[in-house]
């Protein structure tokens, strides 16, 4: 029973990681860029959300309605002001630029919000749960998982069906050829990053409802997103979603073995996948 419980809780935890991983998979797929400040942006949005909630008395979903457009704007500005200047064959400039940004953001947050851990009051939502066959399933984690699945589906449909999605895939396959057919890569990239960071607007609310956030937490979120993408296999948003579930289960099972082993067991599963199936569990060889 304990292991079934770990499996269920792990999948629910995976829903949270999927919301970080989608944006990372999208950005890497389109631009071959890793935004090192990805995790710090989640924390920044969470802290802004918590401050909004406490100053205006907003509920969690009102905070979300405010955060998602803000996150979209952040992503758009990030791409226009920084990433469009460093995107290219050489991975070094984009890594260094976002690395510096991560260092600056982390310490800026430390200045504004201090090192304390905070969380978003959910009005009882965070503690409600239902019991199925002796396993308690939290209502909030189920909502998180459903939203993650919805976001994955939406992203997948957008990439496959919509005109913008086609432009994205074209720019990802061959920038120059795409530019010749009338796609403006810079504005396509800006939209892609806006979406990638926009998803973090949802993630920020859920993260600060589920647990606490502190300015130094961003690095861990970045690593989880990265592991989920690699475990799942690059190149598809559903791969990132499934990879998140695997990572969540690995951490939950590890945590049941020993509380100090939770995060580590996620890392070990990641390294095992890298050793045995480097194209990812669901990736094409």
């Amino acid at each position: 029973m304990q292991w079934v419980d770990a499996l269920v809780q792990g999948i629910l935890l995976g829903g949270m990681y999927a919301q970080y991983a989608l944006g990372m998979a999208l950005m890497f797929g389109v631009m071959r860029i890793v935004n090192v400040s990805h995790g710090d942006l989640v924390i920044l949005l969470s802290l802004i959300g918590i401050s909004l909630a406490s100053s205006f008395g907003l509920g969690p979903f009102a905070v979300m309605a405010a955060l998602v457009p803000l996150a979209l704007a952040f992503g758009w500005i990030l791409q226009r002001a920084v990433l469009n200047r460093v995107v290219g064959e050489d991975p070094l400039p984009s890594l260094i630029a976002t690395f510096g940004l991560s260092l600056a953001l982390q310490n800026l947050m430390l200045q504004i919000w201090s090192a304390n851990s905070r969380s978003l009051p959910g009005g009882g939502l965070e503690s409600r749960s239902i019991e199925i066959g002796g396993i308690y399933i939290g209502l909030l984690p189920v909502i998180v998982l459903l939203v993650a699945a919805g976001l994955t589906l939406g992203l997948d449909l957008m990439l496959k069906r919509m005109r913008f999605g086609r432009a994205l895939r074209a720019a990802s396959a061959d920038v120059e050829a795409a530019a010749m057919t009338g796609v403006n890569p810079k504005s396509v990239y800006a939209m892609a990053t806006a979406i990638a960071v926009g998803i973090l607007g949802f993630a920020a609310v859920f993260q600060s409802l589920r647990s606490t956030v502190a300015p130094a937490d961003g690095g861990a979120q970045l690593i989880y997103a990265f592991e989920a993408v690699i475990i799942g296999g690059m190149g598809s948003v559903w791969g990132a979603f499934a990879g998140s579930m695997v990572l969540g289960v690995a951490q939950a099972v590890g945590f049941r073995i020993d509380p100090g082993f939770g995060v580590l067991s996620g890392h070990i599963v990641f390294l095992l996948v890298l050793a045995l199936r480097p194209q990812g569990l669901f990736g094409r060889a």
Partner: protein, 347 residues
Amino acid sequence: MTSISTSADAVAAPPAIRVRRQTVSGVIALSLFVLVIVALSTMPWWAKTGTIRMVLELCCYIVAAQMWNMLAGYAGLVSVGQQAFIGVTGYAVFVLAQTFGINPFLAIPLALVVPALVAVPCYLLLHRLDGPYFAIGTWVVAEVFRLVASNLGWVNAGAGMSLAVMREYSGFERNVAMSVLCALMILVSIGGSYLFLSSRYGLALIAMRDNPVAASSQGINVGRLRFMIYVAAAVGCGFAGAVYFMAQLRINPPSAFDPMWSNVAIFIVMIGGIGTIEGVLIGALIYFVADRFFGEYGASYFVVLGVMTVLVALYARTGIWGMISKYWDAPWFPIRRHLLVERKDRA
């Protein structure tokens, strides 16, 4: 400097050529370098303990930065997880000296085997990740090491270890050891890098940096060269870690595997000028001075460092040394080869 004759006599008989590498600035810098090494190793006779400790810290930063420079600036391997090797070697020294009772000064060279052994499986796993994902992968490895050290009972888990055996040595003896180690570190990391870069391996490395595909078509084994650099950089960082934590006398998982090492190395190399030894030295001095003057501002100081790193990545990728050498071509560590054609009619 280089003149190529196209006259008929030159076509008939190939002109005698000579390759010149050393420059006047290089000779001056090399003499200064020797002086610095001598000054470093004689520190106990002219500097106070506080100064020696500060210099030791600076030397550790220079080594970590130069190793990152070799990785990112030449081998095309961007790592944000070199703290893995810094911490592992630091721990190895503590375990050897404290747990097994080996002389701590002997423990340092012995401990350098550890990062070399650890780097091999790390590289075999990580080289499967391309470009930016490699960087995040190195960070995961460093996190794994930190978590393992935090859970491992025989390195005292999260509480860390102390190097109590150092009490057997007098302050002067410790100062002598620290000074000699500083001189050795700089000699091996800067002098070693220079020798490596001016050898045929260095030529291969520079060719690889400029274009890996073209380099491998010229017969360079790109994969093996990258592997060599990765292991060498691990050992170099390990050396810095061993010396740093021996001077600190204490080690615990968060300090041993602190991502700050990567922040500092990246800042130093990017500000100073990536892909040059001169840049590392300039960057390290700037960081060191800035840290002394503005370190007390804590978080806002790091905000400035971060913003400066972004600005360099956006607008000045060659760093300070790149800007200097554009106007004043006087390398301290010349590695370019100048082809001199000797005209026979004048000889």
